[in-house]
């Protein structure tokens, strides 16, 4: 009888009993403490529930990964210190207004990650190996349909299956100091905005300045670079990290500057060329506790401060870098065939802030957070001399939706003054004084991330780009080469599954 009831009848029975219990509880609350009803006297449906044998697919809807223990494989590997991770992100973006042309594109990214903990493997303490592989499918969207500098998607890249990261990390002084060696993607650790990572636009991840100004976009997704990174904790709230990496992850970006990913098609070039890229970052955590910190009492109902993280950093590339306007003779590059002036290296400074500004209770899932990130590079040798992102996110925006996030953000890029001058020079050189010179571009993004199950996310997205391409010419759709690309509206839908 216990198991023969149809599901809806069981639900009704459960509801009826639960309601009875609730009513009993309410009635009890109205009685004096001495007349409590002993729950043992109330019929209890849970007594009738029998255990079911579990299998590979038990709790499919509720577990943290789609494949769970993979029939025992994941835990068997775990005993050897091996962790396996696989995610698939799929998205469809469509330009519905403005831009280069209307239309949409699908792009997907599968990321396979393998980790090895040396302690669990029975070797030595504090070591870990990490290898990750990317499979990028579909086609990039922004270049064909929008023409923006701040591309619409963080996974846009050439279709490929490629090695991404391959590194070894060793803790050197407990958790205070660690060294990471090997092929690394810098967007995983440097310039990261915790709250900005919600957004689909590329530049909320690896920002516009390094994307546009480092050779081939720098050692960041989908590329990575050989190097070493050292990280140290100074006190409870301050962390310093710095590293040195190969400057050009493609070996020689000049061989294919328009599509450098093709120069390192499988991620196995292991370039040590292009000079050395030095990068450093200082991180300060505000109201972020650390293990072992002792607290003295505070007033009853007292609430702790809201957490925030603040970062400042720099990068410096010691490779000679060409001027974007002037040749060696001080003449416009657009008018001469002489080679460009060369600058001693290239560099940028940046700052990132993530701060929770509202939380109704200390243990509430609902938080209102703001973030801002700005970075600058010299305008004489870079396509982008300044970029900034800022935004606001709201976690748990609706009751019962603790893992959803809503967000609104803006991204801004300013084209370097020499590059803008070069545009003017090109117009003059081509006899077209009305040829647009690039200035700046602004992107606004609104998004909502819906956690369907612990392993499955859906994300709806709306983007507006003002002054697309920083005011780039609409050529070839404009034969006069005097018009700018119209402002663009993009809608998108993304889904991410964690296997």
């Amino acid at each position: 009888m216990k198991r023969s009831l149809p599901p809806h009848a069981r639900r009704l029975l459960s509801c009826a009993i639960a309601s009875g219990l609730l009513l009993a509880g309410m009635a009890r609350a109205e009685q004096s403490a001495g007349n409590d009803i002993n729950p043992a006297d109330v019929p209890e449906v849970d007594q009738a529930i029998k255990a079911k044998p579990d299998s590979q697919w038990t709790g499919w809807w509720n577990r943290s990964t789609l494949l769970g223990d993979m029939g025992g494989l994941r835990s068997a590997l775990g005993r050897q210190g091996i962790t396996v991770g696989l995610t698939e992100s799929s998205e469809y973006l469509r330009n519905v207004s403005g831009g280069l042309q209307y239309g949409g594109q699908y792009q997907g990214l599968a990321t396979l990650t393998l980790g090895l903990d040396t302690q669990r493997a029975g070797w030595w303490d504090g070591g870990s190996f990490n290898v990750s592989v990317l499979d990028i499918h579909g086609k990039p969207f922004s270049g064909q349909y929008v023409g923006s500098i701040q591309t619409a998607s963080g996974i846009e890249a050439d279709r490929a299956s490629r090695l991404w990261e391959a590194w070894f990390q060793q803790q050197l002084n407990g958790e205070r100091l660690d060294l990471k060696l090997g092929q690394q993607s810098l967007d995983q650790e440097f310039m990261v905005s915790q709250y900005g990572s919600l957004f689909m636009g590329t530049m909320f991840g690896w920002a516009a300045v390094p994307s546009a100004d480092m050779p081939a976009g720098g050692p960041a997704y989908p590329l990575s670079g050989l190097g070493a990174r050292l990280r140290g904790k100074i006190g409870d709230n301050i962390t310093v990290l710095g590293g040195a990496f190969a400057g050009d992850p493609t070996r020689d970006v000049s061989q294919n500057p328009s599509d450098p990913q093709q120069l390192n098609k499988y991620g196995t070039t292991f370039s040590r060329h292009g000079g050395t890229l030095f990068i450093g970052e200082l991180q300060y955590g505000r109201n972020l506790p650390s293990n072992g910190a002792l607290e003295t009492p505070r007033p009853l109902n007292g609430v702790g401060g809201l957490p925030g993280t603040y970062k400042v950093g720099f990068w410096y590339l010691n490779q000679k870098t060409p001027d974007t306007r002037w040749d060696v003779n001080g003449q416009p590059l657009a008018l001469n065939l002489a080679g460009p002036q060369m600058h001693e290296g290239n560099y940028s400074i940046y700052a990132v802030a993530d701060q929770t500004v509202w939380r109704p209770a200390e243990d509430s899932s609902k938080t209102l957070n703001v973030f801002a990130r700005a970075m600058a590079a010299p305008g004489d040798r870079n396509l982008v001399s300044f970029s900034a992102n800022a935004g606001i996110t709201l976690t748990a925006p609706f009751a019962g939706r603790d893992n959803d996030i809503a967000g609104l953000a803006v991204g801004y890029v300013k084209v370097g003054n020499h590059q803008a001058g070069n545009d003017l020079d090109n117009g003059i050189a081509n006899g077209n004084p009305l040829y647009p010179a690039r200035g700046d571009e602004t992107q606004i993004e609104a998004t909502y991330q819906y956690q369907l199950t612990p392993w499955w996310q859906w994300q709806a997205d709306l983007q507006y780009v003002r002054n697309v391409g920083a005011g780039a010419s609409a050529t070839p759709s404009d034969y006069t080469s005097t018009q700018k690309i119209p402002n663009s509206w993009v809608v998108g839908l993304k889904t991410t599954i964690t296997f």
Partner: protein
């Protein structure tokens, strides 16, 4: 000569004095004596069970147990589903080895809903291990059973199962008065009337603390002589993230008082005449609430008689003087920033070392047993 003070200087002086007095106060606490935190072992056994919950230190050497061994049970299975963990592991401090102590059949017939080991676990002086089950068929409360209490011998073999209408999801760590052949055991039940975690589940004020008066005949498994609900009406609630929330920590203290951590009430309650009363004391008297507490879960007692409570909603352990209810200090023992607040949902069981010089705790985010001393 008349001294003059600016208001700002006066405020600074007062602030400094308050800070110093606070620091001096914190210096008297058990937590102030803790100097380091050492990860002892990863608690995942061969079957991949996760989420270590209960900690119990063996007082006896017998069978697979050695005095001082640290038993840890697991609430989740290998797929990280709550209420399906069925293993107890044993960490031996002197050899630093972790072994499997027991693996209980998950579909135990006598246990309504089966086996999902909870924070309720103890090792008696006679060597019998008693452990609670708060089971589920899919990791959520929609399919949870009433569970049971199970008795294991010193080799980890199941010898008896206790269930019944007064047992529904024995959830919290046990308080025990162990006189060898006579044992009084307190366990909280947090499953009565708890429904689905979908939407915004209601708080149901039906959780109880059950007292079991037990006889342990020589060479025989323990027998329950009497079952008495000594406290009732605590809040309990289904939860998507942590399965359910309810009264969790129990410590038997001086003057026949039982201390109960009321997670939803964010307070510590005291039940008087706990070992002798024949009726429920309701939700008892509030010893302390809020302040440094943030969903207090497991409780233990320090050598000087202070209470230590692990917070469920952040990674702190809080020290309380049960004589006054004063919250003395808190220490971050899991500051994992991946959660909001840091360490939220990571802490459960806690147990004082036999030497009284520190405490064991588990961190659920990485399945580790940690020693703080």
């Amino acid at each position: 000569m008349k001294a003059t003070f600016s208001p700002r200087a006066l405020a600074a002086a007062v602030t400094t004095l308050l800070a110093l007095s606070g620091a001096a106060h914190a210096g008297d606490t058990f937590l102030a004596g803790i100097k380091k935190h050492m990860v002892l072992t990863n608690t995942v056994p061969d079957n991949g069970d996760q989420n270590p919950y209960a900690i119990a230190v063996s007082p006896i050497t017998a069978g697979k147990l050695k005095a001082g061994d640290v038993l840890v049970d697991n609430f989740n299975n290998a797929a990280n589903l709550q209420g399906l963990g069925s293993t107890i592991v044993n960490y031996r401090p002197d050899s630093k080895e972790m072994t499997l102590f027991a693996q209980i059949p998950r579909t135990l017939e006598q246990c309504p809903g089966g086996v999902g080991l909870s924070t309720a676990m103890t090792v008696l002086k006679s060597g019998w291990v008693i452990v609670g089950s708060t089971p589920s068929n899919d990791g959520m409360t929609d399919t949870k059973g009433a569970g049971c209490l199970m008795v294991l011998d010193t080799n980890g073999k199941l010898v008896d199962v206790w269930s019944g209408p007064d047992i529904n999801d024995p959830w919290g760590n046990m308080a025990v008065i162990d006189n060898g052949d006579k044992v009084t055991l307190f366990v909280s039940n947090a499953g009565f009337g708890v429904g689905s975690a979908k939407g915004t589940p209601p708080v149901v004020n039906l959780a109880t603390v059950l007292r079991l008066d037990i006889e342990v005949p020589a060479g025989q498994p323990p027998k329950v002589l009497k079952r008495t609900v000594v406290a009732s009406g605590f809040g309990e609630q289904a939860d998507k993230s942590v399965f359910l929330i309810g009264p969790t920590g129990l410590v038997y203290g001086k003057d026949d008082k039982l201390y109960v951590s009321d997670a939803l009430g964010n307070r510590i309650s005291e039940i008087w005449d706990a070992a002798s009363r024949d009726t429920s004391a309701g939700i008892g008297r509030t010893l302390t609430h809020d302040g440094l507490l943030l969903r207090p879960l497991a409780l233990t007692s320090t050598p000087q008689g202070h209470l230590l409570a692990t917070n469920g909603s952040n990674g702190k352990v809080v020290e309380i003087d049960p004589a006054t209810g004063e919250q003395l200090a808190a220490r971050w023992i899991d500051a994992n920033k991946a959660q909001t607040p840091p360490g939220s949902g990571d802490l459960f069981g806690i147990a004082i070392t036999p030497q009284g010089d520190g405490f064991y705790y588990v961190t659920d985010d990485n399945n580790n047993l940690v020693l703080a001393k």
